[in-house]
């Protein structure tokens, strides 16, 4: 397989397409018991059903800590987990640029399989298309995911209440900085690794500890923590006050951010969550998070307040205050 590349023919539905399915996708993602059908039957069990979809276009497609495949599985699983759902099934559609080495595709699909196993989900349907060189940037993956929300769990972006405590599951900014330092023109050597991880296990432990006291869950992906908090404040019609010193940030992320003129509070995370919980349950939920490997650096970072106009206010390390606004456009590395 080592010299082989993806050809347009791999996407045209004929022999080569079949070979790709048999030699790459099924071995990693699992062979169905019967024939390969156009659609898969799934059993969901009791509970409210939730669905999500996502597109993955990250560049470069492999980076320290993961690749586009792992990102696709974790991102979809996490969307479901942020509603308190138990993720069950995923689908994955691949749009591949002709010329992509088969070996690379194989590695990425293997990565997806590993992430799916870790999350306890199955990829049950897929599709492949191949486009001409330049049609897409190497590989795009689109997913759908379905899960079930257990009885009594009601988690929503609009669920925050004045007095609630804001928790994060760990350090901010790892994923986005890890990606950025790999880009052309911004080359660094660093220990930065994407934090890409499936969070459904962490969420299950948190629900066991806090149950209905967990009002909001959100994974701060694009736009980072600041953007997520602004969205939540607006949806719940409250204000959120955050203590900048309390937000965990790894040293290497701090240094890389300062070098590039970026703010870690606006940088994407792919293995972290924000939880807004009733004050009486905060300690127990935080303890449950810290007992889990993906929540070892969890911290309480602020609280929710009633307000006429919803906003996010940051208390700086100096003790002064400033508004933490939404991200407007891409954060660009700056020289000034």
């Amino acid at each position: 397989m080592s010299d082989d590349i993806i050809l347009l023919a791999h996407g045209s539905g004929g022999l080569l397409s079949q070979e790709l399915v048999e030699q790459v996708f099924l071995p990693h993602l699992g062979r169905p018991a019967g024939a390969l059908e156009d659609a898969t039957e799934i059993a969901l069990g009791p509970g409210r059903v939730v669905m999500t979809t996502d597109g993955y276009v990250v560049r470069p497609i492999a980076f320290p800590g993961g690749d586009i495949g792992k990102l696709a599985v974790c991102g979809t699983v996490n969307d479901l987990a942020m509603r308190g759902a138990r993720p069950l099934y995923l689908t994955a559609a691949f749009i591949i640029e002709e010329g992509l080495p088969l070996e690379e595709l194989d590695r990425i699909v293997a990565s997806m399989a590993a992430a799916a196993a870790q999350a306890g989900v199955r990829v049950v349907a897929g599709d492949t298309k191949v486009v001409e060189r330049g049609g897409v940037d190497r590989l795009f993956i689109t997913t759908a995911g379905v899960g079930v929300v257990p009885e009594g769990v009601c988690i929503s972006a609009a669920g925050a209440r004045p007095g609630d405590v804001v928790l994060v599951s760990g350090a901010m900014g790892d994923h986005g900085l890890a990606i950025m330092t790999q880009r052309e023109g911004l080359r660094f050597q660093s220990p930065l690794r994407s934090d890409c991880a499936p969070l459904n296990g962490l969420v299950a432990d948190m629900l066991a500890a806090g149950g209905g006291a967990i009002h909001v869950l959100r994974d701060p992906t694009r736009g980072g923590l600041a953007t997520a908090l602004n969205e939540l404040a607006a949806a719940s019609e409250v204000s959120i006050a955050i203590d900048e010193d309390a937000v965990p940030v790894h040293d290497a992320v701090r240094v890389a951010s300062e070098l590039l003129g970026l703010d870690p509070l606006y940088v994407a995370n792919e293995g972290k969550l924000v939880a807004i919980v009733a004050p009486e349950a905060a300690e127990a939920v935080l303890a449950a998070m810290r007992a889990q490997p993906l929540g070892a650096e969890a911290a309480a970072i602020g609280d929710v307040r009633a307000a006429e106009r919803s906003r996010v206010v940051l208390r700086t390390p100096l003790g002064t205050h400033r508004l933490l606004d939404m991200l407007a456009g891409e954060q660009l590395p700056r020289i000034c």
């Binding site: 023109g185 400033r322 660009l332 000034c336």
Partner: protein, 378 residues
């Protein structure tokens, strides 16, 4: 008290107890004057605007001290015509434009580098002029144009790359110089007389290159004190405290409040390099018009690497400059008005849809005000 490694830890320069003490001292000194109006201090450095906003220093100093933002953001002060030229070059076949990130969103009369890139222009965001040189070496078939933006801190880095390119005969690398000098801009602002300043916060890293003697003309010719400041919050508060002291004492002087980064004479190697590669020229500053001797142009010896000579660019037609659209960035930059006084601020002009560069660059007065100023937003 001073641990040997502490001076390397940025947190030591953000210690809240010292910040409170400095803020108290500033307020007390300012309030002890007979005048009731706030002291007016101007900074000339985008990095300072950013730090002031990020640490809430502006609000903490109200009402005793009012901090104004001068033309310290090199992206902000880039004239429409220069942005149009950059876009035109990037759209030429076989040409790749390398630029610092802040520049891609700046609107010219019709478009921006970002939009041009979406339409197929070859635009590369770089962190250093060295990366542009790398690109030129790797792609000999491409004409690489580095956009030379920045003041005295950045210009020597571009000069170093030009000197190396000329020495190795790297014929496909050129620079479109939009570099500008800070002292002439300060003079232009002071001569315009709108800002009514009590003191100037000197740009720390520009001064690392120029040396603090470069600001002696401020007390000597304008009776104004200048405190050269670093960028950590305690550096800034200390510099402001020194500046307020000098302003209240009525003894204008230059204070070096960034001694670990700045000396009297500055970086002689960098200054010599600047002199070998660039010469002063007139330059157009958005909001200030043409300021004589305030720009840096490539010397004739570097003609083969001077994008201004190498490319004949058509004049763009049909667009409107930011001023024609109602933008008052110029007055903001001269310290004549604060961002909220511009009728476009927060309405037609936001970080998502910027009209003038003051809103585009994250450090521009208007963007910083919009993101961090909070209370003054409509």
């Amino acid at each position: 008290m001073t641990d040997t490694a502490a001076h390397r830890d940025p947190a030591a320069f953000r210690e809240p107890g010292a910040a409170r003490a400095l803020l108290d001292a500033i307020r007390r000194r300012a309030a002890a004057r007979r005048r009731r109006e706030p002291l007016r201090l101007m900074e000339f450095c985008g990095g300072h605007t950013h730090a002031i906003m990020r640490y809430g220093i502006r609000e903490a100093l109200v009402p005793d001290v009012r901090l104004l933002s001068g033309p310290g953001c090199p992206v902000c002060v880039t004239a429409d015509a220069d942005i149009d030229a950059a876009i035109a070059m990037a759209s030429l076949p076989g040409v790749a434009v390398a630029t610092f990130g802040d520049m891609v969103r700046v609107p010219g009369t019709r478009s921006s580098l970002q939009e041009a890139r979406a339409a197929g222009a070859d635009v590369h965001v770089v962190y250093s002029a060295l990366d542009a040189m790398d690109l030129a070496r790797r792609r000999p078939e491409l004409k690489v144009v580095m956009l030379g933006i920045g003041f005295e801190t950045t210009a020597p880095t571009v000069a170093a790359v030009l000197e190396a390119a000329r020495a190795e005969g790297l014929g496909n690398l050129s620079v479109y110089s939009m570099h500008k000098l800070t002292p002439p801009a300060m003079r232009a602002i002071l001569e315009a007389g709108e800002a009514c300043l009590d003191g100037i916060i000197g740009p720390g890293h520009v001064t690392a290159i120029t040396g603090w003697r470069a600001w002696e003309f401020l007390p000597a010719e304008y009776g104004l004190p200048c405190a050269v400041s670093g960028f950590e919050p305690l550096d800034m508060l200390y510099a402001i405290e020194q500046l307020v002291t000098a302003a209240v004492d009525g003894e204008p002087r230059v204070v070096n409040a960034y001694r670990r980064g700045v000396t009297a004479e500055g970086n002689r190697v960098a200054q010599a390099l600047l002199g070998r590669v660039f010469e002063p020229a007139n330059a157009e500053w958005r909001g200030l018009g043409v300021v004589p001797g305030s720009g840096l142009a490539l010397r004739p010896a570097y003609a083969a690497h001077d994008a201004r000579r190498l490319f004949e660019l058509p004049a763009p037609a049909g667009g409107r400059t930011a001023e024609e659209r109602g933008c008052r960035c110029g007055e903001v930059l001269r310290g004549a008005i604060e961002p909220p006084e511009c009728p476009l601020f927060g309405r037609a002009c936001t970080p998502a849809q910027p009209v003038g560069p003051c809103m585009v660059s994250g450090e521009g007065s208007c963007a910083a005000y919009y993101r961090y100023g909070g209370a003054s937003r409509p």
